[in-house]
């Protein structure tokens, strides 16, 4: 496991967020990091919390998207997995004596500016980045966060965004030839999608 290159991804897994998740995974891989996400493997026998702890402990970097701070309709349950996992990650960094954990870098994303501070005032110290629910904006925020953390030679956000669009066209073209319909392509499992990104970027 390469702690220095791993990045834990903690984000919503709903249908609305799925396109943003795919953009995020491409961006992270294009910059040269390895996203670690619970969807990377699916073993029904595996205890989810153990898996999350393993991903957190194996990643120097992490991205926590708290975009679901506000219910979309009356009666919708507030999903607490994302803030819970952010808490685990902060705990791992702050309560662990291991030097490598102290070096952890954390990015908090939100869809609506200041929504995290309103819903989770304990995080009022945090400099959250806002993507407005836009894939292109997400690329800019994530790319710039890596650069702000001292990473050299990060490709420009424009080139990553254009690369993602071209990558998606390749995926569409090649899968269509194999008989996949657009909805099959758009809903490829994340593990398969990530493997396709690896094929294209190597």
């Amino acid at each position: 496991m390469d702690f220095q290159k791993n990045i834990f991804i903690n984000c919503p897994f709903d249908d609305d967020y799925f396109p943003l998740l795919k953009t995020l995974l491409y961006t992270v891989k294009r910059i040269g990091f390895k996203p670690r996400i619970t969807l990377e493997r699916n073993d029904s026998g595996e205890i989810r919390l153990h898996k999350i702890k393993e991903l957190i402990e194996s990643s120097k970097y992490s991205i926590h998207d708290l975009s679901r701070a506000r219910a979309k309709y009356v009666g919708e349950y507030f999903r607490q997995n994302m803030p819970f996992e952010l808490g685990l990650d902060l705990g791992c960094r702050d309560y662990n004596e291991k030097k490598e954990f102290k070096s952890k870098k954390i990015l908090i994303l939100e869809e609506e500016r200041y929504s995290t501070q309103k819903a989770l005032s304990d995080l009022s110290f945090a400099d959250c980045k806002c993507h407005k629910g836009e894939a292109e904006e997400l690329v800019y925020e994530v790319r710039n966060w890596f650069a702000e953390n001292g990473l050299k030679s990060v490709p420009s956000a424009s080139s990553i965004w254009d690369g993602y669009n071209e990558f998606y066209a390749d995926l569409y073209y090649e899968k269509s030839k194999l008989g996949f319909k657009p909805k099959d392509i758009d809903r490829l499992p994340i593990a398969e999608f990530m493997s396709y990104i690896d094929d294209k970027l190597t």
């Binding site: 396109p19 894939a135 993602y164 669009n165 071209e166 998606y168 066209a169 569409y172 073209y173 657009p182």
Partner: protein, 74 residues
């Protein structure tokens, strides 16, 4: 000459891609957009020119996925 449906090499592509300032028409692999339009409709219309000269036009949604793939007119 091989039929178009059996071509093995991917056709050249022109992409219609979301930009912060509008919608760009951009040839595959080019560093810069050919032109950025204020609306998607204008960009799709602008891309038609390259379709007539042999490129497929790939119209993206704002999330980067594919809305429509228009094969070249050649």
């Amino acid at each position: 000459m091989a039929k178009r449906s059996s071509r093995s090499t991917p056709p050249k592509r022109t992409h219609v891609v979301k930009r912060e300032s509008g919608w760009a028409v951009k040839k595959q692999g080019a560093q810069r957009a050919t032109k950025v339009y204020r609306t998607k409709e204008q960009a799709v219309k602008g891309a038609e020119k390259s379709r007539r000269s042999g490129n497929d036009v790939v119209i993206h949604k704002k999330d980067g996925s594919i809305q429509k793939w228009k094969k070249s007119n050649k």
